[in-house]
Subunit: 267 residues, 2 copies
């Protein structure tokens, strides 16, 4: 198994300290950015780069930018005007630790830092576009989620595809483009990302099903039931292994193992 | 006088409609983006591009991105957790019109759209970096402003230099780089931008001096007094005309006239 995590944590530590910024502003950004997490988007980016024959190190700025974008989205999602969550990863959420105004700015700062960081990477325009197309779709998905009234499967699928799926696509596609993939491989990468994003969401919904039921949330489990959700998870897992079977090498093995970890963590 | 404004309004209308996005999300972004305003940052970008021998049209994506960034900053600044302003340009501010959650997302969306838009411009990495360096400094300035305790001139200067000055630098530098300037011209452009940004802030402080005094706000007028602020405005205006005197042509004349409009609008 590749040691992507230590590469990523070092890149986030270094990248977020690369700009001269006021102490509290920087501290509030780093509080959320460097608070652990599985770094699944960053790992996907590096692995997809290697899968296409590139070096993981070359995709690191993209992986770091993706985690900054993910961290910003969590800070803003936790705000009282959104999901109103007081805790995140076992510690107070940003607005609880720094106040609402500073939390809004910490999110703004992380999103802007992601862009600023990628400005230092020459060229690679297709990979950059993949990152920010996903970031735009993610915000669109959060907007749909905030304002949704319909409680049906098409609504849930559209929200999920944007809110969670888009950044999975960004991660896999930016890595694959950075690794030098052609258009046919990009299409396969997109299919892989969509299936893995859906697998991730469905296992999340299974994990949180008691909490979600209490809050009457719209999830795959509440709409499809536990058994059908499990069946679709198995089917997605099998599809993903099928896609990966066309590739060999360490990165393919890593992505297959990651898929299994996502699938079984809570089923 | 160049007709930059109609170019800019068309680019903002077109640019913000270029992506397929949910109706409410897009409407909330366009509500703030297309609500008028002087477009001074966008005009500076186009004029500085022409000043360096480029075509205004080539700088349009940068000008549009700068106005999107400016609009996002106003939406977030107006939020209850920040300046808590209910009105903006004569109509309800974003959170009054759409609710706080949607206002946060409209700001996030506009910032992201600015990046996504510039992803469609090939190359021009120095100009892009100028835009996002300024956006990062602007958020840093807002953080300083939100948390400031010192009430002295160095604090005010630092806050202003980041919160307002940074995006003036972004506007002038991105336009100048897009127009093909060399490093020496970029330095002159930066000096011009810094002086114009300060002139803009000081005339703003003069305009709002009764309201600011009532709110006990830290401004150039409260720290320097009305007369000294006016004296410094005259001095900055003279310096800027000195810088512009090295250039000829329509863009230089436009920038000189714009400087005069900024200086006299409220003195």
């Amino acid at each position: 198994m590749k040691d992507y995590l230590s590469l990523i944590e070092a890149a986030l530590d270094r990248g977020s300290a690369a700009f001269e910024l006021p102490e509290l502003f920087l501290r509030s950004m780093r509080y959320s950015l460097l608070s652990g997490g599985k770094r699944i988007r960053a790992c996907l980016c590096l692995a997809c780069c290697e899968l296409m024959g590139g070096q993981a190190e070359d995709a690191l700025p993209f992986a770091a930018a993706l985690e900054m974008i993910h961290a910003y989205s969590l800070i803003h999602d936790d705000l009282p005007a959104m999901d109103n969550d007081d805790m995140r990863r076992g510690k107070p959420s940003s607005h609880k630790a720094f106040g609402e105004g500073n939390a809004i700015l910490a999110g703004d700062g992380l999103l802007t830092m992601a862009m600023r960081l990628l400005c230092d990477v020459p060229g690679q325009e297709t990979a950059k576009k993949a990152v920010f197309q996903g970031a735009l779709e993610m915000a669109a998905g959060q907007s749909l989620d905030l304002n949704v009234t319909a409680r049906d499967l098409p609504s849930l699928q559209r929200i999920h595809d944007l809110k969670t799926g888009a950044l999975f696509r960004s991660a896999c596609l930016s890595g694959a483009y950075r690794g030098g993939c052609d258009q046919a491989e990009a299409e396969k990468t997109r299919l892989f990302a969509d299936k893995l994003g859906l697998l991730f969401q469905m296992t999340d919904d299974l994990l949180d099903r008691d909490k979600d039921a209490a809050e009457n949330k719209l999830t795959y489990v509440t709409l499809l039931g536990t058994e059908e959700t499990r069946r679709q998870i198995d089917s997605l897992r099998s599809d993903i292994h099928g896609i990966l079977s066309e590739y060999s090498g360490e990165a393919a093995a890593y992505l297959a193992a990651l898929t299994d970890r996502v699938a079984v963590r809570n089923v």
